[in-house]
């Protein structure tokens, strides 16, 4: 924010700048993460437990693996999981939200009941159960995230659709002989697209953090994959002997990415809907 004050940017411009910077970072991380092969994190016992230096920016671990490469690969995995999970759960919430708002009272009470049910159980608990039921690994985590993060967005979409549906021009459209499906597609969807975009942006950091949390607990991705959660949980044992860099750098990178998504999501929400931003 200091930077944006010096450059004399308004909220729109600073949000745009943040979006550009973030997308460059995310693309770079994801691409390098996928392009790196296993050689980059091969163990090299000659440089075990090295502190951060110019050869190894983030230091090396107890097997001599370069922590910088491991962090990048872990982040790319986390972002992948987060992206697929967030989009998956946004799709679920769009479908359920629209069904609840347009298909009558019975459908509405069923969906509302489902939303309450999922909101009443802590995310992490249902996430662990679902991930476990799908057999863990990448698939389990993605399904777990998609199936647990939809309720809050579904509730927002449901109320938004209900509000749009009662507007005069939608009712006029019914009297023009248009079908429900046509109205949903032409009148209602364009009105809720901004909410959906903000919703996905705000779901994303949640998804990443929960993925890291479940993996940290040992119930998510398998240990040979360099996920951030695994890096953190492995490094716990070495913190007491002073190897702080094992947990510090991956943790801080995760935090920065999550925080930036959160901030951009908030800013966008404020720009799109200034009246309801403080809700």
């Amino acid at each position: 924010m200091q930077l944006s004050k010096q450059l004399n940017l308004n909220k729109r411009q600073s949000t745009l700048l943040a979006c550009i910077v973030l997308s460059i970072i995310v693309c770079a991380v994801v691409l390098t993460g996928f392009l790196y092969d296993e050689d980059r994190i091969a163990s090299n016992l000659e440089v075990r437990n090295a502190a951060p230096s110019f050869d190894h920016f983030f230091g090396t671990d107890w097997l001599g693996r370069d922590m910088f490469s491991r962090t990048i690969m872990g982040l790319s995995l986390s972002i992948g999981v987060g992206l697929v999970g967030a989009i998956g759960s946004a799709s679920i919430s769009i479908i359920l939200g629209v069904i609840a708002a347009t298909m009558g009272k019975v459908a509405d009470s069923i969906v509302t009941w489902l939303i309450d049910l999922f909101l009443s159980v802590p995310h992490l608990v249902s996430l662990i159960l679902i991930a476990f039921a799908f057999g863990g690994g990448f698939k389990g985590i993605v399904f777990g995230i998609a199936l647990t993060h939809w309720p809050s967005l579904a509730r927002v979409i449901r109320s938004e659709v209900m509000q749009v549906r009662s507007l005069d021009f939608v009712q006029v459209s019914r009297k023009m002989g248009k079908s429900r499906w046509w109205i949903a597609k032409e009148h209602i969807m364009p009105h809720i697209v901004p909410q959906i975009i903000v919703g996905i942006l705000l779901l994303f950091p949640h998804a990443i953090l929960h993925e890291a949390a479940v993996t940290f607990l040992g119930l998510g991705l398998s240990p040979h994959e360099p996920a951030i959660g695994i890096i953190l949980s492995e490094s716990m044992r070495y913190l007491s002997v002073g190897m702080w860099w094992l947990a510090f750098f991956p943790g801080i990178c995760l935090l920065i990415i999550v925080r930036m998504f959160d901030k951009i999501g908030d800013n966008l929400r404020m720009l799109i809907d200034p009246h309801h931003a403080h809700r």
Partner: protein
């Protein structure tokens, strides 16, 4: 064709009855004026006739049978506030063509300029938007037009222009028009029959 309201009663939720057992008839080709004090339920009655609300008791019938609800509604309502009756994310061309495609002659008669068709609703004034709403409601299958304070917020010249066009079309197509208004002068000028809403209740 005959549009009838038979013993119609209505209330919002569990509030007191707005009106009970109202009987009303209008034939195609008639221009009927409906007057009454504010809050007496004229607008709600118009919404009932056009199918925007369903009566708690009684029925609305067209030639003795219920009005079909899943295709173009033969009774069209023009709202008092055109700003709310158009989708702010659509261009005017799409809005006016939603139910049917009015030809250029009709648009010109209502005083709609061709270049307005490419504009967004917030680039036009209330009066200009109202002309589009009227054009939209005058589909070829419209048998009755319900004008709920349709020209209240327009200046005299625009009012005259719009009503002139509407009456001409109504006569040509043998369409019935129900004019709901506070403006006695307007109603006396336009209508063949004038009804006090309190006499109906």
């Amino acid at each position: 064709m005959l549009l009838e309201a038979n013993h119609v009663s209505f209330r919002y939720g569990t509030e007191p009855w707005l009106f009970r057992h109202v009987d009303f008839k209008i034939k195609t080709g008639e221009i009927v004026g409906l007057v009454g004090p504010s809050g007496s339920g004229k607008t709600t009655f118009g919404r009932l006739l056009a199918g925007y609300e369903t009566p708690h008791e009684g029925s609305i019938t067209l030639d003795g049978s219920p009005v079909p609800s899943n295709r173009y509604h033969p009774i069209q309502l023009v709202f008092q506030h055109p700003e709310k009756a158009v989708n702010p994310r659509w261009k005017m061309r799409k809005i006016v063509n939603e139910g049917w495609e009015p030809d250029e002659a009709l648009l010109e008669k209502l005083g709609i300029m061709q270049e307005w068709l490419e504009r967004w609703p917030n680039e036009l004034s209330g009066g200009e938007l109202q002309r589009f709403c009227v054009a939209r409601a005058l589909g070829t299958n419209t048998r009755f037009l319900i004008a709920d304070e349709m020209t209240t917020m327009l200046d005299a010249i625009t009012q005259a222009q719009i009503w002139h066009a509407v009456l001409e079309i109504a006569e040509k197509r043998n369409m019935g028009v129900l004019v709901i208004s506070h403006d006695h002068h307007l109603i006396h000028r336009l209508c063949t029959r004038i009804i006090e809403f309190k006499d109906l209740v």
